[in-house]
Symmetry: C2
Subunit: 194 residues, 2 copies
DNA sequence: AAATATAGCAACCGGTCGATCGCTATATTG
DNA sequence: CAATATAGCGATCGACCGGTTGCTATATTT
């Protein structure tokens, strides 16, 4: 018997890449099976239903995102230094992880795809984005406390604008293949975290 | 014989709303037919192929966007005044046109959905967004010329950041049903166009 | 009134979807 | 060694997909 855990990992790695391009609905079991040299039953057996496969794919993507964006900044001094490190890593993740996420940020894709539907996938997307926002908000708050950001700064406003910058960067990279946008995102962050 | 033009209009109105929720791929001919009390043949006959239906849907959405966002600002004085009017109308379009676009901005949806695919739909999305960017850039340029924006202002940078603000607003409205984001978007624009 | 053009219908095509089922082959446990 | 558990296969299901084809009924033109 092959190691089930290993197969599951292969499915999810392929699933993340596929969903990044085709969306989480376009992520079909048959295509996943073909791509991995498995049968459809062999793929679905690990998850039970497509919805559970979609949620598992999202969680795997979140692990990757955390590892690529949060982890490198985690050991920075909390506050502005860490925020800057996160923004750097965030941009690097969007521009360099073309192999893992060939269709761009999976959370941007999934958010748009499920924002008007009910169900477990939508809830998971919202949950993951909320977790990310809380982390950002925390460091913004620390930065204010340390006097690195102006005392009157609206925490949620900064998080909102940061999110916009990277949504725009993702679009500019994916739809227009415009690498200059990386510099624009960097400057926008600088202006925001001045 | 019913008026063909009128039927086509009904199909596109329904198509814009459906695609806003389900995406342009999730916009299926069968569902469109059911929703309108037509047969599948009766729907497809007006467009020939699904791809042409998708492009037609995008163009109709662009007409609506132009009418809702650009037209109200068109007669403002070019430059900063018009930019502010556009931003106001843009936010209003995202927050108020829930009937026309129940799943949020169709261009945000379509951009994400087709940014990693080849074909006519992708090209049309990119073209429409480019037209919109040119219009914005024009008024930014005028505003700089009039001294309403700082002389050293990077035109493309402003357009990039504006786009990010409204992508973020769309996400906040659709995924989190957070109406407070309208005020955040307004403040972000203000900060950008100070 | 006769001939022509067309909007729309109903039925159907091959293909793919998610999902289910019985089965085999292997690994683990007793 | 025998019994059990399970990873994965392959066939199959009903539903739906985009698209095609004859046809009807109506409106227009001659």
């Amino acid at each position: 018997m092959a190691e089930a855990r290993h197969t599951r990992d292969r499915i999810l790695a392929c699933g993340v890449a596929l969903a990044s391009v085709e969306g989480l609905e376009g992520l079909t079991i048959g295509r996943l099976a073909t791509e991995l040299g498995l049968s459809k039953g062999g793929v679905l057996g690990h998850f039970g239903t497509k919805e559970r496969l979609q949620v598992a794919t999202l969680r795997r993507a979140a692990e990757l995102f955390t590892h690529l964006v949060w982890a490198p900044a985690e050991h920075e001094r909390p506050g502005l230094a860490r925020l800057r490190a996160v923004c750097d890593a965030w941009a690097r993740y969007l521009v360099e992880e073309r192999e893992t996420f060939p269709g761009g940020c999976l959370f941007a894709t999934a958010s748009i795809e499920f924002d008007a539907r009910a169900g477990a996938v939508r809830e998971e997307v919202a949950r993951l984005l909320r977790v990310w926002r809380v982390r950002l908000a925390h460091d913004v708050r620390v930065a204010i406390g340390e006097g690195e950001l102006a005392a009157g700064t609206d925490v949620e406003q900064v998080v909102f604008e940061l999110n916009g910058i990277f949504l725009a960067l993702n679009q500019q990279l994916q739809l227009f293949r415009d690498e200059r946008a990386v510099e624009r995102a960097r400057r926008a962050c600088e202006r925001l975290l001045s």
